[in-house]
Amino acid sequence: MTATETKTTTTNGRTDGANGVHQIGRSVPRIDALDKVTGRAQYTADLHLPGTCYGAFLRSPHAHARVVSIDTSEAERMPGVVAVISAASIARDLAIVVEEEMHAARRVLSLFPNVGGKVTYHGQKIAAVAAATKELAEEACERIKVEYEVLPPVIDVREAVKEGAPLVHDETKPVDGLDHGPFAAPTLFNIAGQNHRNEGDVDAGFREADRIFEDTYVIPRAHQTYIEPQSTVADVARDGSVTVWTSTQGHFAVRSNLANSLRIPLSKINVIGMTIGGGFGAKFGGIVDTYCVLLAQKARRPVKIIYTREEEFLDAKPAPGAVITVKTGVKEDGTITARQAWALWDTGVGSGGCYATNRVKGVYKIEHFKVDAYDVHTNKPAPGAYRAPGAPQATFAGETQLNRICAAMGWDPVEFRLKNMREGDQIAFKETLQAVADRAGWAKRQSKTGPNEGWGVAVGEWTNGAGPASAVVSVHEDGKVHVFYGLMDLTGTDTAMAQIAAEVLGVRYEDVTVSRGDTNSAPFGTASGGSVVTFSFGNAVKRAAEDAKKRLLELAADHLEVAVEDLELANGRVSVKGNDESLVTVAQLGQMALRSKGGPIVGHGSFASEPSATTTAAQIVKVSFDPDTGQVRLRKLYGSLDVGKALNPMACEGQMEGGLVQGFAWGLMEQMRYAEDGRNWNPGLLDYRVPTTLDFPDIESVMVEMPTKNGPFGVKGIGEPPIAPGVACLVSAVADATGVWINEVPLTPERVLHAIKANGKK
């Protein structure tokens, strides 16, 4: 498929497919919508198992401290308390560990700090209690006595890498540093991971340039802020087998985490994925489920743990912050000759972030490109994924600087990008950018710009991965189709899968039901993250439906006494081509199958991995700012997204709009704040602001369809990319409005006001 064949569709005026014949391309309601609008959908917290007791955690009030003593005896004696776990109790329980199991045992032992060991962030779990009520469990936690020797914390990555900074983990070895760049030093400290990439020769590239730009961008940690907190219910049978009901993006991932970390055989763990109230990358397990199982093992009763909102902010897995310096060489004709990036990612007590620095390159032809990036330990919780992990941060740096270059050199930011964008098979960088520019009337924007108003544009990208997926599609005696698999539906994927099965089997979407199996019953399925599942499970479901279709046609051929090749399947029936009289319905075939030699109609489909093609999200914003208060308001928002093929245009728009708002919100208002003593400063929704209905205008959405050959019907994974461009887009628009480039977000009113005053503008 070439770029010229790209079809740009505007989905605001929706169609419901060609006379109902096509089930893909229809904006049908979500398959779970009825349960969700009537309050019937079952989330983890909604479970009320008989005999349930409730878990709570004791947490460190300090960001960095040595644990001198822990005394749980009073809590253990409290009536109503059924289990108390701490490092000491786990060590006692593991006392019989044999040598070869030590490696696994260490993982269990690391769930809580030992006496003599350290707590390394504010809110870290010290112990957990299960009791008859949640209040009792919390009260018991308060009765656990802990003595600390408080240590100085390190909060800023730029300080953490310096010699003499407190070491977050005592065992972290210093690493050789860089002899150049913004944090040149012989040795770097608190380094959790490194990423060095070198394409071409950046020094030669910079020599070719007419102008060289260098900027440093700072972006804070952001919390995914799913409205349903982390939650798990666990129960342990007499034979030790474990059942876990949990809010997760991947129940098979939870199963393997539990098996590995608690040394329970995989076959003795059954994980039931409940309806999930938002995840965005933070719900792959390990935050509450492990502790819930440990408590249930001791309590021998079901244990329920529901995180509070405060616990979410103190001790979950937020997106890492970053400090990224970008240097770019440009010729007078607008060619980018070289780009180099240095980055320190704020990965707290964990790691995972620095690889995303490669995205600073963007979707452009850049021959010489170099990255030196580090994950840096600070006294904060470990990071997790947040929709296109790392992309918003890296895109903020890369795309904002491109806009600054355009402003400095007099280039139109859209034209400059079109000139430098890569082209290729199955990708639509240029078409996607052009589509949003056309929708926004970008070329004529000056005529629509008042005083204190400005425009910004930015582009993000993501290439969906793929993972193992398997599905079973059965055709029943009423002609209805059922899809069964181990897919966790986050974003509407069950709906997309039903549409795929319906399309292949020539029935209506409304005639398809879907059920998700637990880990005992369903074949393995990859977790829902990284925009992999519509691509991966879509292939599996399509194959399974095709398998069932083959059986349908064979039964029909037998019944109608014609060859399979002479049959067609559509509108719930199989007919002989060119003879509408000679037909049999899918329902009749479903009945006949029960008496046939082959038995009921079941199709199987499995998929491992195949490469997809990059998808693009391009966004344009018009902002205004108040020169008296510094307040920035979004006035117009436009987004385009290359979806490959829109299985459900309404759902595609929903993905695009939701991701777009999350991206812009990170630039406008969201930041996890830490005091100098390392304590989390804003662990609640009043102080950690996420957008309300009043913070954003309506969004004009444009879908671009550049199919990828390995995706079912050309589908690309689309959940991730819409979050990537927002921060850069917003910062650039504010610069257009104010004349000041503010390289640190979020753009709070005081930050904007200070920046303008410091620059003597307005």
Partner: protein
């Protein structure tokens, strides 16, 4: 102090025992086993626990169960009349006004109260009325679409005219457009 109270929820009487400090949300979820109202924050910031108390939307995490005695409580479970969905429920389904669904019960309860009070609510008024209900999935556009469509539908029923078909994203106008304050200045603290 434990006490026996009777709550009138969705037209049915629930005799339950509660503590003086028991929140209405917990009474509904744990005692009446009506789990449609969700807990997202326990501080009244997210709106997921919104129910109607004598037609007024309240965040049930901030209401004591005992104080709801003698009032008509409506939860998401009581919105549909038998098989017939409320127009707001129907519109949320048809127009993509929900994704993960955790905010949906509260969002629908607030929307119903909003349209009861202002049947001809404009897009801006809908945005204004829903500011206390957080949604992290949709970006809000399709929620506003849905409430607007429901308003048209309900208006049509009152007038006996056919349902107005919607689906576009009409541009916003008026003083409330993208007002980032809403009384809560972003990041101002």
């Amino acid at each position: 102090m434990r006490q026996l109270i009777e709550l009138n929820v969705n037209g049915e009487v629930y005799p339950i025992d509660v503590e003086g400090r028991t929140r209405l949300l917990d009474a509904l979820r744990d005692k009446c086993l009506l789990t449609g109202a969700k807990e997202g924050c326990s501080t009244g910031d997210c709106g997921a626990c919104t129910v109607l108390l004598d037609s007024m939307p309240v965040t049930s995490c901030l209401v004591l169960a005992a104080s709801a005695v003698g009032k008509q409580i409506t939860t998401i479970e009581g919105v549909a009349k038998g098989e017939a969905l409320h127009p707001v429920q129907r519109a949320f389904m048809d127009l993509g006004g929900l994704q993960c669904g955790i905010c949906t019960p509260g969002m629908i309860m607030t929307s119903i109260a909003l349209l009861e009070e202002n049947p001809n609510a404009t897009r801006d008024e809908i945005r204004y009325g829903l500011q206390g209900n957080l949604c992290r999935c949709t970006g809000y556009d399709k929620i506003v679409d849905a409430v607007q469509a429901a308003a048209h539908e309900m208006d049509g029923r009152r007038r006996g005219t056919p349902r107005v078909e919607t689906g576009g994203n009409p541009a916003m106008a008026g003083p409330l457009q993208a007002d980032t304050t809403g009384g809560r200045s972003p990041g101002a603290r």
